[in-house]
């Protein structure tokens, strides 16, 4: 088995409003070395919680069931130095760089902290490496940037600094949680281009979290679609838009207006996205699905192989046939 990361049956419960609430339910997902996997879903679908589970950044009081294995190690039982090693090998880039960078420390302090503290690299050496990585992410004039403060940099520039920080520990897996959502569309294209190239050059695996099916398709080999804390479908990204296996994926693709032509009316799904703890018994999408049948209410569909991908829908075969 050459999986870098293997998640099986991951269920996470969190204390919310004085009750333990399920936020992830039976999530299974694997990432091979060097592979880019997309994680797409709407609010509350559990995509960020999945990423946080991998680096053990869940809120206090979280109850975790199931297994997460990274390079063969059982993640939930890691302690001390071995947990720090995991977090050097798995780096995270967040949506809002300003919320994840200390505003009163310089860019240089931020970039070199992990190297100096965790890996005991000397300051001068750490700064040299920081300047080289800044150059790789397209930030010129590195030595000057190291002395600047976060507020002196634009959002796009700061997100490149975040990516540089994530790369400095020489990770094998990058968890990118909506890294371009807060950026302008032209800046998004630039940042994605840099991320994609660096990832390929370094043979870095990536879990790319986004709400944008097309953006995931452009940079990921496979994409997993989540709804209500569960994985609905995993499929080659190129096939997702036109050949979705799950009705929810098809609904997501249809709801997004097209850049190319105006639709007479957008095809909408009634209701709103649900969190795992609000989801009905049976299929979590059953209350909104246009193809629902009685058995969708009766049994919770497991993720099962189909047509080169995986899907959690009991009607997937007949619906796929009717598409053609």
């Amino acid at each position: 088995m050459n999986d870098l990361l293997r998640i099986s049956g991951l269920t996470v419960r969190l204390p919310l409003d004085g009750e333990m609430r399920t936020v992830l339910s039976d999530v299974s997902l694997s990432i091979a070395a060097g592979e880019a996997v997309g994680l797409v879903g709407e609010s509350g679908s559990g995509k960020s919680m999945t990423a946080r589970s991998i680096v053990r950044l869940l809120p206090p009081g979280a109850l975790v069931e199931g297994t997460i294995r990274y390079r063969g190690n059982d993640v939930p039982s890691l302690r001390g130095q071995r947990l720090r090693d995991l977090r050097s090998s798995v780096s995270m880039v967040f949506q809002d760089p300003r919320a994840h960078i200390n505003p009163v420390r310089t860019v240089g302090d931020f970039l070199t902290e992990a190297l100096r503290v965790n890996q005991r690299v000397a300051r001068r050496e750490a700064e040299g490496r920081a300047v080289r990585v800044l150059d790789e992410v397209g930030v010129a004039d590195g030595p000057r940037r190291l002395r600047q403060y976060p507020h002196e940099l634009s959002g796009g520039l700061l997100q490149r600094v975040m990516i540089a920080a994530a790369l400095l520990t020489e990770p094998h897996l990058l968890l990118a949680d909506e890294p371009t959502t807060a950026l302008d569309v032209t800046t998004q294209a630039e940042v994605m281009a840099i991320l994609d190239e660096l990832r390929r050059e370094r043979g870095l695996a990536m879990l790319f979290i986004t709400h944008d099916l097309e953006l995931a398709a452009a940079v990921c080999d496979r994409t997993a679609v989540m709804y209500a804390g569960r994985v609905m479908e995993i499929r080659a990204s190129a096939l997702l838009h036109d050949h979705a296996l799950h009705p929810y994926t098809a609904a997501l693709a249809a709801a997004r207006p097209s850049l190319e032509r105006r639709a007479e009316r957008l095809v909408t799904t009634p209701g709103r996205p649900l969190s795992a703890f609000e989801a009905p018994d049976g299929c979590p999408f059953s209350t909104r699905c246009p193809h629902v049948r009685q058995r969708c209410h009766d049994e919770r569909p497991d993720l099962r192989p189909l047509d080169g991908g995986q899907v959690a829908c009991v009607r997937a075969e007949e619906l796929a046939v009717s598409h053609d």
């Binding site: 097309e214 997004r256 095809v267």
Partner: protein, 261 residues
């Protein structure tokens, strides 16, 4: 165009030394839908704020429903009349509603201020507006904290429409919504325009959404308009290099990230 419901001529805004908006002119016909497209720092939101009177133009004219509104209103009555002409819906539905007021009460308050309807008719009108934006009675009676982002945004639209404005400014009003909710709100916006004849000034960075909702578009960059025309023409065959770059940057089926080197 003399029959425009909103006419903006030579609008300019300086903040100290910096010019946020320079020489912006456009007009919006009755029941029309005009998009202002641009990225952060383009000046699109400053234009909207000048039209509703939240910023005072350094130079230029704003005429809505035939009346000049470049200068601050001189009386409460004038201010109320202006509110009856132009309403605005902001991006963040979490900060634009009073957390202690139900949607029904919020809409009713606007009706009391802007119409001469009696109590019974106001109640009927609240129900009509709720129906128009697709909210049920239970949702209209709930506190905003019980509503989702999409529901709150529909409340904000219903409340704006209660003043019976001729012009509705939507400033990134669907940008923060989940994809499936955004589609519902975009359909609501199309219905509302068809049924009420309200005109939209639709401020957005999202070209696909702009294609779906608007007839015409102006593209702004660094405070100035770089391209304008019918939405379909501008998106099918953009002429300005910046519009071309914007369009090429949007992820879509088959899109690939550009090469950097």
């Amino acid at each position: 165009m003399t029959d425009a419901i909103l006419e903006v001529e030579g609008l300019r805004k300086n903040f100290g030394e910096a010019t946020a908006v320079r020489d912006v002119s456009f007009s919006l016909p009755p029941a029309g839908a005009l998009a202002i497209v641009g990225e952060s720092g383009s000046g699109k939101t400053t234009v909207a704020r000048m039209i509703v009177g939240l910023e005072r133009p350094t130079a230029g004219r704003v005429t809505a429903c035939g009346r000049d509104r470049s200068q601050p209103a001189r009386s409460a009555r004038e201010r109320r009349d202006r509110g009856g002409q132009v309403q605005i819906v902001f991006q963040d539905p979490y900060s634009s509603l009073d957390p202690r007021q139900s949607p029904a009460a919020a809409v009713e308050e606007v009706l009391r201020l802007h119409t001469r309807l009696d109590r019974g008719r106001r109640r009927a009108r609240v129900a009509e507006l709720a129906d128009l934006v697709g909210l049920d009675e239970r949702q209209m009676a709930a506190l905003p904290s019980r509503l989702s982002g999409g529901q709150r945004q529909r409340v904000a639209i219903a409340r704006a429409l209660a003043a019976e404005p001729r012009i509705l400014i939507l400033d990134e009003s669907v940008a923060a919504l989940d994809v499936s909710i955004q589609a519902q709100v975009l359909n609501v916006l199309a219905d509302v325009r068809e049924r009420t004849g309200v005109a939209y000034l639709f401020i957005s960075h999202d070209l696909a959404v702009v294609r779906q909702v608007t007839d015409d578009v102006v593209v702004m960059r660094h405070g100035a308009i770089v391209e304008r025309g019918p939405t379909d023409r501008v998106l099918d065959a953009p002429e300005h290099p910046y519009t071309q770059l914007l369009r090429a940057s949007v992820p879509r089926p088959g899109w690939q990230v550009p090469k950097t080197r």
